[in-house]
Point group: C2
Chain length 225, copies 2
DNA sequence: GTCTATACCCAGATAGAC
DNA sequence: GTCTATCTGGGTATAGAC
């Protein structure tokens, strides 16, 4: 099964024609939407002729599918790591949110056009809908775990999962895309906003934030090394 | 200026052809998106021929525009009332969120397809983009007011406005449309989630919620009368 | 792997009869 | 106010040469 434990999309050479198609398409999907972007638009952005696209992807929807995999796969994988590692629930949730926002800010493509109900509702995207549902269940299980452990107040988990989704999406939507001005505080702010609302004892937020800051800091230094 | 103080869209007779076009279009826009919905689809849903649509609306985008007005106009108007009336900032924000969610749940059309960047980015929707920006400024001013008054913690107001937007959208997106099963708790839950995150003194949340519950309760009884 | 040429379909909108 | 007929443009995708 796709998007199973340990699964990762294969690496992309962003300078290859295939990689440049994915990059350009992601930007256009984010600006004008999937339906608002024609294969001619994508081809023009890559400076090839429109039929040449079909040498690299069997159909327009395969481009979209590849982008969803690249964005969602690692996110699901990270959440599996959060669920498996030893930490309290507030730390798991805080780090998961902050890391997702962080990853979005540093990845080369623009994921803002990928999660539209009207697009994902198409028959050919059933696998992607299921993957999204899986991610939602992961989030819900963290919220539920935190509640059972007495760390979180008793909001309805399915509602909280929605709210987290909303905060995540809007935080991402704000960005001008990967080329835009990066707001380095956003990962922690988004995580703070959600976790502060959930925590029974809000004094804990400062410690939880420091734990996340440490983990994300390690990440940045290892990437630079 | 459109969407100014006291402005309201004119009432719609939902049984007229024009009203039925708006209703059907809203449902289709929500399911398949603006670009994924053809004028033929809308006409079929209303059981008229496609060219007949153009007797009621000059163009496809005028249908969309009318729906945005119907959804956004009253929302902006309510926020002006919140800003003008005497109450503390937490009550203003809590009531505004709860009322918006409530209104969405009871209005006859489906507003979920209306706030898509790819659609609103079209040249013909400049007025709608400005109205949305106005609404965002209203929300931000409440957040900022609450912070200056010492009611809210010091999150960056522009970020909080985004987060609120996200929670609102996702709460609405969850619903199966006006025909779907209504979740009566959602208005208070959405408002609670946001205000709990912002409040310096979270003990106040219970009182704030009761104030909102009273105001929304009055609303329902007056509608039924 | 990229090209030209083109098939085929469906979109939004208009003309003009009834 | 609704209809039939039709215009015009643009969409995805394929065939086959280079």
């Amino acid at each position: 099964m796709k998007y199973g434990p340990g699964w990762e999309p294969r690496a992309v050479d962003w300078s290859s024609t295939r990689g440049r198609i994915l990059l350009s398409a992601s930007v256009l999907f984010a600006q004008r939407g999937y339906f608002g972007t024609s294969t001619r638009d994508i081809a023009e952005a890559v400076a090839i002729r429109q039929p040449s696209l079909f040498h690299h992807f069997q159909a327009k929807h395969e481009i979209f599918r590849a982008l969803v995999e690249l964005d969602l796969g690692p996110s699901i994988d990270r959440m599996n790591q959060r669920l498996a590692e030893e930490s309290n629930w507030a730390e798991k949730l805080h780090l998961a949110i902050a890391w997702d926002v962080h990853e979005f800010l540093v990845q080369p493509f623009d994921a803002r056009g990928l999660y539209q109900d009207a697009v994902l509702g198409l028959a050919e995207f059933e696998a992607e809908r299921e993957a999204i549902a899986l991610f939602h269940r992961q989030v819900e299980s963290v919220v539920d775990g935190g509640h059972r452990a007495g760390e979180f107040v008793s909001f309805e988990p399915s509602f909280v999962q929605r709210a987290i989704n909303g905060v995540l999406f809007e935080t991402l939507r704000e960005q001008g895309g990967p080329s835009g001005r990066v707001r380095r505080e956003r990962p922690l702010q988004a995580a703070d906003f959600v976790v502060r609302s959930l925590l029974v004892d809000q004094v804990r937020l400062a410690d939880v934030r420091e734990a996340t800051r440490g983990r994300l800091g390690d990440l940045e230094s290892s990437t630079l090394a």
